[in-house]
C-alpha cells in the first residue's frame, strides 16, 4: 500500500457515486458532485506530483500502474470531469426550471456521472487488459441511461443504438482479449499475470504473431467502435445530440480518448510481436477514412450538437492516423492532439449547452446573436471554434501542423486528403458558428447564470499548449512516444 494516491483517485468517484445514488436529488447534490470531482482531481494531482517526483509507478502486485502514457490522461480525465461538474451545476438547474427532468432523474444523473468517471479512471490505471475491457464496458453501461435521460423518443433511440453498437463492438474486443490471453499464456503461463500489460510488454517479441495479428483486428474493431471510427461511428452523433450536454462534453472529451488509449496499448504489443507495420497501417486507413467521412457529414448537419459530434469523429480519426504513422514526432503530436482536442471540445460543448438552453433549440438556423444577449457565451463559442479549427496560436494548430508535416514525409499521398478534410470542416463549421454568434436575436436571459469559467480555463490551457508546453508534460509526451514507437 505504498501509493495510496491510486486508491483515492479510484475510490473517491466510486464512493461519491454511491453517495449521490442516495442523496442525488437533494438541493446540494449538484454542489456535492462538484466537490467529489474536485477531490478526485486533487488526488489525481497528488498522483501526478508523485510521478513527477519519483517516476513511473507499478503497484498493488503490478495490478495498477502509472507510466508517461497514462499519467497525463488520468489528470486530464479528472480535470475535465471537475470542470464539467462545474458547468453541469447551473446547466442542470436550468433544465429543471424548463421542466425537462425531475428530481429522480437528477439522482440517476449524478450517480451515473461519478460511476462513469470511475470506470474511465479504472480503464486508464489498470495494468490488466481484461480489467480494462471490464471498465470500458462499465463506461458504456453507466452512460446508456444518461443518454436517454430526457426520455424523448429520439433520446431513447439514441441510447438503444449506443448500447447495441458499443456492446457488440466491445464483445469483439473481448474476443480479442481472449486471443491475447491465449498468446500470452504460452509465454507467461496461466493466471492473471499473463494479462498484465507491463509483463506482456516485456515479452512482446515472443508472442505468437498470427494470433496477435488476429487479436489486434478484433481489439481494434471493438475499441475502435468506442473511439467513433468510421464505419462504426453511427452511435456517436446520436448519443451526443440527444443526451444532456454535460454528457456530450465528457463523451467527446474523455471517453473517446480512453478508448483510443486502449487501442494504442494493444498496438504496442502487436507491433512488438509482428515486427511489421500491420497495426499501424490498419490505424492509418481507418483514421483517414474517419477524417474524410466525418468532414462530409459535418458539412450537412443542421443540429449544432451533431455537427460538433462529427467534428469529434474527425479529430479522433486524425489522432488514430497519427498513431498509425508512428515514430517519435507523429506520436508526440497525437498525444498533444488528444489533450488539446479534449479540452477544446468540452469547452465548446459547455458554450453550446448554454446557447441551446437560451434559444430552446438545437437547430443552428434558429440560434442567432449569442454575442448580443450573452457576450461570454458568444465569445467562448467563437474562440473555442477558432481553436478546434486549428487556428494559431492555439494548441490544436501545433499538433495538426506536426501531424501534417510528418505525414508529408512518411505518407505523402495522405496529406492532400487530410488537408481537404480539414479544409472542408473549417469552411462548414466557421460559416455556421459565425452566423450563430453574430446576428439578431430575441432570446431571453437564462434563470441561472451560466458557468463560463471552465470554458475560458480550458481555452487558456489550449492557448498555453500552443505557445509553451510545460517541461514535464513534454518529457512525458516524449517518453510515451518513445515507448509507443
Amino acid at each position: 500500500m505504498e501509493h495510496s494516491e491510486i486508491v483515492f483517485v479510484l475510490g473517491i468517484p466510486l464512493l461519491g457515486g454511491a453517495l449521490l445514488a442516495v442523496f442525488g436529488d437533494r438541493r446540494w447534490a449538484a454542489s456535492a458532485n462538484v466537490a467529489v470531482s474536485g477531490a478526485a482531481l486533487l488526488a489525481a494531482a497528488l498522483l501526478t506530483v508523485r510521478v513527477i517526483d519519483q517516476g513511473p509507478i507499478l503497484d498493488f502486485d503490478d495490478n495498477f500502474f502509472v507510466d508517461p502514457f497514462n499519467v497525463f490522461l488520468v489528470t486530464l480525465t479528472a480535470f475535465v470531469a471537475f470542470t464539467t461538474a462545474l458547468f453541469s451545476r447551473p446547466y442542470m438547474k436550468n433544465e429543471q426550471e424548463h421542466g425537462r427532468l425531475g428530481a429522480g432523474r437528477l439522482k440517476l444523473y449524478h450517480a451515473m456521472y461519478q460511476v462513469f468517471i470511475f470506470s474511465m479512471l479504472l480503464a486508464l490505471l489498470t495494468n490488466n487488459m481484461g480489467i480494462m475491457w471490464v471498465a470500458m464496458e462499465a463506461a458504456t453501461l453507466s452512460t446508456v441511461l444518461l443518454v436517454s435521460l430526457y426520455r424523448t423518443p429520439a433520446s431513447l433511440e439514441a441510447a438503444w443504438k449506443y448500447f447495441i453498437l458499443c456492446s457488440v463492438g466491445i464483445a469483439q474486443a473481448l474476443f480479442g482479449t481472449i486471443l491475447l490471453y491465449f498468446a500470452a499464456e504460452k509465454v507467461l503461463g496461466g493466471g492473471s499475470g499473463a494479462l498484465l500489460w507491463t509483463h506482456l510488454n516485456q515479452v512482446k517479441g515472443d508472442l505468437e504473431p498470427t494470433v496477435l495479428s488476429l487479436a489486434f483486428v478484433f481489439l481494434f474493431v471493438g475499441y475502435g467502435t468506442k473511439v467513433g471510427l468510421v464505419p462504426l461511428h453511427n452511435w456517436l452523433p446520436d448519443a451526443h445530440a440527444e443526451g444532456p450536454t454535460p454528457m456530450s462534453a465528457v463523451l467527446s472529451g474523455l471517453l473517446l480518448n480512453v478508448a483510443l488509449y486502449a487501442v494504442v496499448r494493444c498496438k504496442v504489443l502487436t507491433d512488438g510481436a509482428l515486427a511489421t507495420h500491420f497495426a499501424g497501417n490498419l490505424m492509418l486507413a481507418f483514421g483517414l477514412l474517419s477524417v474524410i467521412v466525418a468532414a462530409f457529414f459535418l458539412s450537412r448537419q443542421t443540429d449544432i450538437k451533431r455537427m460538433f459530434a462529427y467534428s469529434s469523429i474527425e479529430h479522433m480519426g486524425l489522432c488514430t492516423f497519427a498513431f498509425g504513422l508512428g515514430g517519435p514526432v507523429a506520436t508526440f503530436a497525437a498525444l498533444l492532439h488528444m489533450t488539446v482536442h479534449s479540452l477544446t471540445k468540452s469547452a465548446i460543448f459547455f458554450t453550446v449547452g448554454h446557447a441551446v438552453q437560451k434559444t430552446g433549440t438545437q437547430t443552428m438556423d434558429e440560434i442567432r446573436g449569442l454575442v448580443l444577449t450573452n457576450p461570454t457565451i458568444g465569445a467562448g463559442m467563437l474562440l473555442g471554434t477558432l481553436a478546434i479549427l486549428g487556428l494559431p496560436p492555439f494548441g490544436v494548430f501545433a499538433s495538426e501542423f506536426l501531424i501534417l508535416t510528418t505525414a508529408m514525409k512518411q505518407q505523402p499521398w495522405a496529406t492532400p486528403i487530410l488537408l481537404a478534410g480539414l479544409g472542408l470542416a473549417f469552411a462548414s463549421i466557421f460559416q455556421r458558428v459565425q452566423a450563430m454568434v453574430f446576428g439578431d436575436t430575441t432570446a431571453k436571459r437564462l434563470p441561472h447564470p451560466p458557468a463560463m469559467m471552465p470554458v475560458f480555463v480550458h481555452l487558456a490551457i489550449v492557448l498555453m499548449l500552443g505557445l509553451w508546453i510545460p517541461p514535464y508534460l513534454a518529457a512525458w509526451y516524449r517518453q510515451a512516444a518513445q515507448m509507443l514507437g
Binding site: 480489467i131 475491457w133 431513447l156 438503444w160 457488440v168 491465449f182 504460452k186
Partner: protein, 219 residues
C-alpha cells in the same frame, strides 16, 4: 479417460451449436429464454468436464458462476421482465427463416476457417471446439441483426457473451478469475439496466418493437 472426456466436450460443443441455430429460428420470446438457459447449462457442464479431465480447479468456480448467473439469475430476471412488460406470449414475425439458416451455415464455415490456424496452435484438449465457439459468436450476431424486437435482441447479445465464454474455455481453459468475475458483473448490470430501459421504451412507444427506433438518420 481423456478420449472419453474429449468425446463429451465435443458433444457439448455440438449441443451449443444446435442451440445457437435453434435460437436463430425461434420466434417465441418465452422459448428463447428457455433456450438461453439451456445454453448456459451446456456451458457450465462443459466447464465441469474440462475441469475434471484436466485438473484446472479454477474452472469449477467458473462453472459455478455460469450456473448461478446464466442458468438461474439471468433467465429469472428475463422471466420477470417479460411478465411485467406483458410480452410473455409474444410471437415475432420473422421473415425468411430458411434464408437465415442458410446464412448461418455459411457463417459456420467461415468461422471454422478463421479459427483453424489458432486451434492448431492451442495445446488444450478442447481446441477442436474453438471453431464452434467462433461460429456461435457469429450466429448470435446474425440473430441480433435479424430481430426487430428489443428482448430477443438482448438475448442475442447474451448468447454472444455465452459463445465468447465458450471460446475462452476452449482456447485457454478460461480467463483469469478476476476478469471472469468482472465480465459476469458487467453482464448482470447490463441486463438490469436494459430492464429499466425496456420500461422507458414501452412508456414512450407503447411497444418494444424496434421499428419505432428508426428516426435518427442522416439526411
Amino acid at each position: 479417460m481423456t478420449s472419453f472426456a474429449t468425446q463429451l466436450i465435443n458433444l457439448m460443443a455440438a449441443l451449443l451449436l444446435l442451440i445457437a441455430f435453434a435460437m436463430l429460428a425461434q420466434r417465441r420470446i418465452l422459448t428463447l429464454i428457455h433456450l438461453f438457459a439451456w445454453q448456459g447449462l451446456v456451458l457450465a457442464s462443459n466447464s465441469v468436464i474440462v475441469a475434471w479431465s484436466t485438473g484446472q480447479t479454477h474452472l469449477y468456480w467458473s462453472a459455478l458462476l455460469t450456473l448461478a448467473l446464466k442458468v438461474i439469475l439471468l433467465p429469472w430476471i428475463l422471466h420477470r421482465l417479460i411478465d411485467r412488460l406483458n410480452v410473455r406470449w409474444d410471437v415475432e414475425t420473422l421473415i425468411n427463416i430458411p434464408t437465415t439458416m442458410l446464412a448461418g451455415i455459411v457463417l459456420v464455415i467461415i468461422a471454422y476457417n478463421v479459427a483453424s490456424p489458432i486451434s492448431q496452435l492451442a495445446g488444450t484438449i478442447t481446441r477442436s471446439t474453438l471453431g464452434i465457439a467462433t461460429a456461435a459468436v457469429l450466429l448470435a450476431f446474425l440473430m441480433m441483426i435479424t430481430r426487430s424486437k428489443a428482448v430477443p435482441q438482448v438475448i442475442g447479445f447474451l448468447a454472444m457473451e455465452n459463445a465468447l465464454f465458450f471460446a475462452a474455455t476452449s482456447a485457454t481453459y478460461g480467463m483469469p478469475m478476476v476478469v471472469e468475475l468482472g465480465v459476469a458483473l458487467d453482464v448482470l448490470v447490463g441486463t438490469l439496466i436494459l430492464g429499466i430501459f425496456f420500461f422507458q421504451l414501452r412508456e414512450a412507444f407503447d411497444s418494444l418493437d424496434l421499428k419505432h427506433l428508426e428516426r435518427l438518420k442522416e439526411r
